[in-house]
Structures are given as structure tokens and as C-alpha cells.
């Protein structure tokens, strides 16, 4: 029994230590924003890498999500004659939940992994140490541009995902399920509130920060050559995905919980 309690206690303290290291890492990255030099070109490059090149994958997942959502809610609501709610369900689900969560998960897989691999390779090949010896703070040069890009880019991606996702529902609703186009759009517009979109964009900013933080953190602390970089990449994607889902629940509670 004592052994069991000791192992639980050890695991708890290890969790606290890991959380502390992560928070310290994030604060060191953000603290670099408080004093020059700044690297606007690097921030722009990260925004392009994270946003522009993620557009196809986010767009595709958004449109199919909107289409499936329309189909599923139609077949479900038909059981109690509530088919007219399809447009409302699609737009609220996409803007509040599915847009930010799916975009976050897609970007975690595409960009978070790439960040961890790039920074991890720089770590195991001494490039991060080389940055330091060249009077360049790695947090300022590598971490901050990625954190800022994550914070800014994912909300922009989610705006696109929202539009495409709602369009996917509209296409299925009007072309397959027989809704009148004008009434579908009216339903969409009538029940959509500003807060639905804002909450989704706030979530997206948090998710983008999480993706970048996990990519940078695991890459920065990778060890032991190619295997270590591979592990860092896996950890970055898995931890970002879990944190996105966890923080999504907390943010939803904060915005809409009673």
C-alpha cells in the first residue's frame, strides 16, 4: 500500500515539475517580446508557414465536417420533425466548436510536428548552442516568433474554416436534402450570434498558442539524435492534441457554462 502511495505521489510531483518547466518555458518565450531585438521577418515567415500552407488541409476538413454535420443532424432531427434546425445546428457547431477544434488538431499534426522536428534537429546538431554563441537568444529567435504566429494565425484559419464549414452544410442542405437556399441562409443568419464567432476565435488563439508551445518545448528539449527528435515530434502532437481538447472544455465552460 505504501509503495502504491509512494508511486502515486512521485507521479504527482513529476507532473507538477513538468508543468512548472512548461510554464517557465512559455514565460521565457513571451518575456522575449518585452525588449529588442525583434525579428518581424521571422514572425511573418512563421505566419506564412503556419497559416498559408495549412489552408488546404484546414479547408478540406472544414468542408467535409460541415457536410457530414448537415447529413447527420438531418437524419437525427427527422426522428422528431425538427429538420428545420439543421442550418442552425451546422452554423453553431462549426463556429463554436468544430471550426476551432478541427483546425487546431490539423495544425497540431501539420505544424506542431514540423516545429518540434525542426527545433529538435537544431538541438541535437548543436545549432541552438551555436545561436547562443553568436549572441542570439534562442527564445527570442526561435520560440517567440512561433508563439506569436500560433496566437495570430489560427484565428485567421478558423475564420476560413467557419466559412467553408458552413458552406459545406449549405451545399448538402440545398443540393441533397432539399432545403430552400434562401430559407437555409436565413436560418443560418438568424440564430448566429456575435459571441458564437468570438468564442471560436478566442479558442483558436489559445489552440494556436498551445500548438506552437508544444512544438517548441518538445523540440527544444529533445535529446539523443534522430530517435530523440522522433520522440519530440510525437510528444508535441499528442500533448498539443490533448491540451486542445482539455482547454476546449474549459473555455466552453467559461463562455457558455452555467
Amino acid at each position: 500500500m505504501l509503495t502504491f502511495l509512494a508511486s502515486v505521489g512521485a507521479a504527482f510531483f513529476a507532473f507538477l515539475a513538468a508543468t512548472g518547466r512548461l510554464v517557465r518555458f512559455a514565460l521565457m518565450g513571451l518575456a522575449a517580446a518585452l525588449s529588442p531585438p525583434f525579428y518581424p521577418r521571422l514572425i511573418l515567415r512563421q505566419i506564412v508557414a503556419m497559416g498559408y500552407y495549412s489552408l488546404p488541409v484546414v479547408g478540406l476538413t472544414a468542408i467535409f465536417t460541415g457536410m457530414v454535420l448537415a447529413l447527420q443532424s438531418y437524419t437525427g432531427f427527422a426522428r422528431f420533425n425538427a429538420e428545420s434546425a439543421v442550418a442552425t445546428v451546422v452554423v453553431l457547431s462549426v463556429t463554436r466548436e468544430l471550426g476551432p477544434v478541427i483546425a487546431g488538431l490539423m495544425v497540431a499534426g501539420r505544424v506542431g510536428a514540423a516545429m518540434a522536428a525542426e527545433i529538435g534537429t537544431m538541438r541535437v546538431t548543436d545549432q541552438i548552442d551555436a545561436l547562443t554563441t553568436l549572441s542570439t537568444d534562442p527564445f527570442r529567435y526561435l520560440v517567440l516568433p512561433r508563439l506569436l504566429a500560433g496566437l495570430v494565425t489560427l484565428p485567421l484559419l478558423v475564420v476560413v474554416a467557419d466559412v467553408i464549414g458552413v458552406f459545406g452544410g449549405y451545399v448538402v442542405g440545398t443540393m441533397k436534402l432539399g432545403f430552400n437556399a434562401a430559407s437555409y441562409l436565413t436560418q443560418t443568419e438568424t440564430y448566429l450570434e456575435r459571441m458564437d464567432v468570438i468564442s471560436g476565435l478566442v479558442k483558436a488563439g489559445v489552440f494556436g498558442f498551445i500548438v506552437a508551445l508544444m512544438g517548441c518545448y518538445h523540440g527544444y528539449h529533445s535529446r539523443g539524435g534522430a530517435e530523440g527528435v522522433g520522440q519530440a515530434t510525437t510528444h508535441a502532437v499528442v500533448s498539443a492534441s490533448i491540451l486542445i481538447l482539455l482547454s476546449n472544455y474549459l473555455l466552453t465552460t467559461a463562455f457558455f457554462g452555467k
Binding site: P37, T125, Q127, D129, A130, T132, T133, L134, S135, T136
Partner: protein, 260 residues
């Protein structure tokens, strides 16, 4: 120092462990201004750890590291970044930034570290590349397009680009053929002299050590067990040094090898 001058680098009682393994165990060493010190020792004896502690890339558990008489252990990040402007470093694996072109690698410390304009930094980078025998056309390539020897020369050009006061060389000839190794050794000697810099090198290549060192120190089990002028390395009367210099398997340094 015999003349009473402040050493450029003074290390006292340095201790560093990784888990249960104590790598540096109360290490003491000095390096005078303008001196070329080479630290020799077997693989895994802590040579790279010593350099990384001096550079502030690793934090020792105990001891003192003074640069120009000023304590650097526990130095705040901002002061450390300024101190780095005194240093140049040639990494064992070159550690070139693979996303940047060769000239951008050489000019990196000038542009990012010192805020120099790109055009001026590029001019200086091309001069430094020429100093290591590489033409301007190489400057436009990426590191992945270069051979190991060329990468080492680019790394050397990067290490001297900002004309540092102290240059560290980590295994500068490892992985190179003997001719290219000699080219790198010659470049190190010439460039360090031209800059009037203090040089600290670590290597287990005795040919390289004899060529670039004013003084050689041997690191074993976390301590400096012998040091002296290069000319005395063959008459050290130290069985550890003799075994290492002559490359004998038999001697006081025992490698842990298990029978198959």
C-alpha cells in the same frame, strides 16, 4: 600566471555531473591572453562539457569561471549575451544553420548579434570565407551542398567573423581526411595569430594538438592531470599522458571492454 597578469580564462574547482556520473571533478585551469591552449583526453572525459561550461551553455554545480577576471558563473542572461560577443566557437559537427545560405551563416553573428546591416555583413562574410579558402560562389550555397571539409571551413569562418577575443575549437579535425585536417590546423594557427585571439581547443588528435598548441593540458576523470608546453609533451613523465600520446591500449587508462 608567472608574470602576475590576469589570465584571460581562469577556471577553479569546477564540478559538473550528469545524474550519478561526475564529469568534472574540481577542475582547475588557466589560459593566458593570446595563448593557444589545447586540452586532450579520451572520449567522454568531459572536454566538451568544460568548454560548454565556460561558454555558459551548461551550468556547473560548483566552481568559478572568470573571463578577464570577471566571474561568469551565475551571470544574468543579458550580461551573458553581451559576454558572448567576446567568444567564437567552432563546433565538432560544424552546427551550421541549414536553412541559411553559407554567407548568411558566416554573417549571422554580425547581423543578429551585433545589428550590422546585411550588405556590410555580407562583405565581411565573403572576406572571411576567402580567408579560409572559399570563393564568393560558395557563399550562395546551402550547407547541405558542401563537403565535410568545406563545412568545417565555413564554421571556422563563422567563428572568426566577429573577430572574437577568445575562440573555442571543439574537435576541429574529427571526421576529416589527414590532408584536410592539416589544412584546418594551418588555418586555425594562422587566423588565431592574425586576430591575436586566445584559443582553447579540445581534441584527441595529437597531430592537431602538436600543431596548434602553445600549451597542452590533459583531462582525465574530471581533473587536469598534466599540463605544460607543447615541446614537453613527449617528456611528461606522466604514464597517463604517455599512454594517450603514444596511443597504447596498455597503461593506466583502462577502457571498459567486455569479451564477446
Amino acid at each position: 600566471m608567472s608574470d602576475g597578469a590576469t589570465p584571460k580564462i581562469a577556471v577553479r574547482g569546477l564540478e559538473k555531473s550528469f545524474g550519478p556520473k561526475r564529469v568534472l571533478d574540481g577542475l582547475d585551469i588557466d589560459c593566458a591572453v593570446g595563448e593557444s591552449l589545447v586540452i586532450i583526453g579520451g572520449s567522454g572525459t568531459g572536454k566538451s562539457v568544460l568548454i560548454k561550461c565556460i561558454l555558459g551553455l551548461l551550468h556547473p554545480e560548483a566552481g568559478s569561471i572568470r573571463i578577464d577576471g570577471a566571474e561568469t558563473v551565475g551571470m544574468p542572461r543579458g550580461d551573458r549575451t553581451r559576454l558572448m560577443q567576446k567568444f567564437g566557437m567552432l563546433f565538432q559537427g560544424s552546427a551550421l544553420f541549414d536553412s541559411l545560405r553559407v554567407w548568411e551563416n558566416v554573417a549571422f553573428g554580425l547581423i543578429q548579434g551585433r545589428g550590422m546591416e546585411r550588405a556590410k555583413a555580407r562583405e565581411i562574410a565573403l572576406i572571411k570565407l576567402a580567408a579560409v579558402g572559399l570563393g564568393a560562389e560558395v557563399g550562395e550555397l546551402h550547407p547541405a551542398e558542401l563537403s565535410g571539409g568545406m563545412q568545417k571551413r565555413v564554421a571556422l569562418a563563422r567563428a572568426i567573423a566577429a573577430e572574437p577575443e577568445i575562440i573555442f575549437f571543439d574537435e576541429p579535425t574529427t571526421g576529416l581526411d589527414p590532408i584536410m585536417a592539416d589544412v584546418i590546423n594551418d588555418l586555425i594557427v594562422t587566423l588565431v595569430r592574425q586576430l591575436g585571439a586566445t584559443a582553447v581547443s579540445i581534441t584527441h588528435d595529437m597531430v592537431s594538438a602538436r600543431k596548434i598548441a602553445d600549451r597542452i593540458a590533459m583531462l582525465h576523470k574530471g581533473k587536469i592531470i598534466w599540463q605544460g608546453p607543447t615541446s614537453e609533451i613527449d617528456d611528461s613523465n606522466n604514464p597517463f599522458v604517455d599512454q594517450f600520446v603514444n596511443g597504447h591500449a596498455e597503461g593506466p587508462i583502462q577502457m571498459e571492454v567486455r569479451a564477446l
